[in-house]
């Protein structure tokens, strides 16, 4: 009894010591305490702060909180992940980004943290990047919800944030209050669904069966479809929301099949799109138009289904056939690599976003967030997309090289809008291959 007590007391000592140790460990990476609060307040202009001393800087530190594990890892790893890597490699191979203030080229250094696909962790790590690592720039987290959580933080600390994966029409209302946030990726209502609806309506589509994943993305796209389809004379004959975490949608397809629609839409992710394609094949359900995404736009979609992808439509960003710059981008990103890593929707937008960021730094001649933000917000840039600019925080509609793509002969061709098309839409889509 007595001995037990002793050890318990000793143990309490250990606990307290651990606590103290932790407090120390927590402080260690930070600058002396007195300086810290000042740095927070000065955050918006902190890059300019060193003017007092002669500016010395030998790199631009960029911080990212990305899903390296967990449910979102597949999206993160195929969308903005490879783009950021390739971009940093290319810039650093050329010596870095010219910053006039320092009179030299500064290479990019990235700090990548794993947010484990968890929003709470992402917001915390974003604050770590800003407050503790004092990164020069913040690159975006992955996914629409994550953007929604990260954007207010970027705004709070006065950090420029050019987003990558994700976006939704609701962010448009938020952007005026968040001048530091810029959205690159296209979303439903201004871009893709009006184009798609017009395209298939012209080809003769009269009815559509719409399925969507029960999340921000799905709700947004199904909502847009509900507006755009009727506007173009297409009746929505069925609407189903699919819970995430489900893999088998046979019965949804059976329900769709029963209505015999011209158009079938699945606004979901690869986890829903891929099994659904298989199910459509297995049930012999072959609507005249099959739209799905994101997922259809990835190379791995083609590797997985081979010739069965013929005629399937998805969201699109570019084709190498459209311009030399875009061809160069495709070659740079994909040549000599497995087809799996291709992303025909987001990649050019993310790349253009990074190009704008680099050019804005060069134009500003400093790493001052405000100066750079003002340039990003107001000026035009020459990117892979051609003449590119932001319009009220959104990548201007005019800069989009594509909205809707279709797999034709193993290539994801741009079919809409017509003025950017690299091929004419195939409607009705061919039969699923047999055997």
């Amino acid at each position: 009894m007595k001995a037990k007590r002793l050890t318990r007391r000793e143990f309490l000592g250990v606990t307290a010591a651990t606590g103290a140790g932790l407090a120390l460990a927590g402080c260690k990476p930070s600058v002396p305490a007195t300086e810290a609060p000042a740095a927070t307040q000065a955050a918006p202009t902190k890059a300019a702060a060193p003017t007092a001393a002669p500016p010395t800087k030998d790199k631009i530190v960029v911080g990212m909180s990305r899903p390296l594990t967990g449910a979102l890892v597949a999206i993160g790893d195929s969308a903005f992940g490879p783009i950021s890597k390739a971009f940093v490699e290319e810039v650093n191979a050329a010596g870095g980004i010219e910053v006039a203030e320092y009179g030299k080229k500064l290479p990019i250094e990235t700090i990548i943290y794993d947010d484990t696909s968890d929003v709470g962790t992402m917001t915390r790590l974003t604050e770590k990047l800003i407050l503790e690592d004092k990164v020069d720039f913040l690159w975006p987290a992955c996914g629409t919800s994550f953007i929604y959580a990260q954007a207010p933080l970027a705004e709070k600390y006065g950090y420029l944030l050019i987003t990558a994966e994700g976006g939704a029409s609701t962010i448009r209302e938020m952007l005026p209050s968040m001048p530091h946030v810029f959205v690159t990726l296209s979303f439903s209502d201004w871009y893709q669904l009006p184009v798609f609806a017009e395209l298939v309506a012209k080809a003769g589509a009269k009815t559509a069966f719409v399925t969507y994943i029960a999340d921000l993305h799905g709700i947004e796209y199904s909502g847009s479809a509900g507006i755009e389809f009727p506007k173009n004379g297409i009746d929505i004959v069925g609407l189903r929301s699919l819970p995430p975490d489900m893999t088998d949608f046979s019965e949804v397809i059976r329900a769709a099949q029963a209505t015999n629609p011209d158009v079938f839409c699945l606004f979901g992710y690869p986890g829903q799109i891929m099994p659904t394609v298989g199910t459509c094949m297995g049930l012999g359900f072959n609507p005249k138009a099959w739209l799905g995404g994101p997922g259809v736009n990835f190379g791995f979609f083609h590797t997985a289904f081979g010739p069965a992808v013929e005629g399937i439509m998805g969201f699109d960003g570019y084709s190498p056939k459209q311009s030399p710059a875009l061809k160069e981008l495709a070659d740079k990103l994909y040549t000599g690599k497995p087809e799996d890593i291709q992303d025909w929707w987001g990649h050019p937008f993310y790349w253009a976003g990074l190009q704008i960021w680099k050019q804005a730094i060069e134009k500003a001649g400093s790493l001052d967030q405000e100066a750079i933000r003002n340039i990003v917000a107001t000026e035009h840039f020459e990117t892979v997309l051609g003449d590119t600019w932001f319009d009220k925080g959104l990548l201007a509609k005019e800069c989009h090289m594509a909205e809707i793509g279709q797999w034709q002969n193993g290539v994801f061709e741009v079919v809409g809008p017509v003025e950017h098309a690299t091929a004419e839409v195939v409607y009705p889509k061919p039969d699923w291959p047999t055997g």
């Binding site: 002793l6 307290a16 484990t116 968890d118 604050e127 407050l131 207010p152 029960a214 819970p243």
Partner: protein, 316 residues
């Protein structure tokens, strides 16, 4: 000398705790802003773990409902944020979790052992999917913005919740309810025939433990900015609470606290320093710990370390 030593020993425990409390209570004065954020997160895990332990350790019922109560708190914050002052929101969240837990407890606490674990796990998922269905089909929104609050304020709120929780568990352990709980853990039938109202005690403590998880959820949500049912009702919080408690050691009051602190700190270290092998290292640490320290980390403190230290001290 002997008496001097004895009185120091008697005082050492409260003195150390007070010192720790003082250090924590003034953290924002000397630590960097991010340290405050990071410690907030660690304390959140301590709350989840200790609140789990409050009910599950003495009774032996493995509850996987922590995430449900935490999520109720998060959603309370997301729906009431901006309409009520934060302390009221946190209180509401605590009450809401209490009510949910009391209902669940009254319904399910007759389930024995692993069935209870399964049910509580299912509860998290059921609430998540019902809420998702409700948000998608009725309100038409899936996610909600949470009105944010100052980081330092949240830190002190979380610290406050933790202090109340620790006091509560300490007092419960020494109270009639604690004795009843322990007796229930040793044998429910015998406890009932000894005059203990088994279901009332279990339900009450289960609901009480939920208050803290709910309150912590409401406070933490303000740090997350944006939540949806999947973010809020993440079963990983349930499993993590259990893992942290077992990792630290259920045998002692301090074990789960230590487990949560070390686990959360290690996780933070890994996702920032070694992000690509975070799970690999974390998983290995868990497996190795349970293999070599079956009573959790506390075993480390009581056995080798201290014996060695004493061995060095005694000759002197």
């Amino acid at each position: 000398m002997q008496t001097g030593k004895a009185s120091w020993l008697r005082l050492r425990t409260p003195v150390l705790w007070l010192a720790l409390l003082a250090a924590m209570g003034t953290l924002s004065l000397y630590a960097s802003p991010y340290t405050v954020i990071m410690v907030t997160n660690i304390l959140m895990y301590v709350i989840l773990t200790v609140s789990w332990v409050l009910f599950s350790a003495p009774t032996g019922y493995i509850s996987l409902a922590t995430a449900a109560f935490f999520g109720v708190g998060i959603y309370t914050s997301a729906t009431l944020g901006g309409q009520l002052p934060l302390p009221l929101i946190i209180l509401t969240a605590g009450v809401a979790s209490f009510v949910l837990a009391a209902l669940v407890g009254a319904l399910t606490l007759r389930l024995k052992g692993v069935y209870f674990a399964f049910f509580t796990f299912g509860l998290v998922e059921l609430i998540k999917h019902l809420l998702l269905w409700y948000e998608v089909s009725v309100t038409g929104v899936r996610g909600r913005f949470v009105v944010s609050a100052d980081n330092v304020t949240i830190y002190y709120i979380i610290l406050g919740i933790l202090v109340i929780l620790l006091l509560t568990s300490y007092l419960i352990r020494r109270s009639r309810v604690g004795l009843a709980l322990q007796a229930i853990g040793e044998g429910e039938d015998a406890a009932a025939h000894t005059g203990i109202n088994v279901s009332a005690v279990k339900t009450f403590v289960f609901a009480l433990s939920a208050v803290f998880a709910g309150a912590a959820g409401a406070a933490m949500a303000t740090r997350w900015g944006y939540v949806d049912p999947y973010i809020a009702f993440d079963y990983l919080f349930s499993f993590t609470a259990v893992a942290m408690a077992v990792f630290g050691g259920l045998g002692r009051f301090e074990g789960p606290i230590l487990g949560a602190v070390v686990f959360a700190f290690l996780r933070e270290l890994l996702i920032t320093r070694f992000p690509y092998v975070y799970m690999l290292v974390m998983g290995s640490v868990l497996v190795v710990t349970i293999l070599y320290l079956p009573q959790g980390l506390v075993q480390l403190a009581q056995k080798s370390t201290w014996r060695r230290l004493r061995g060095h001290r005694e000759p002197a």
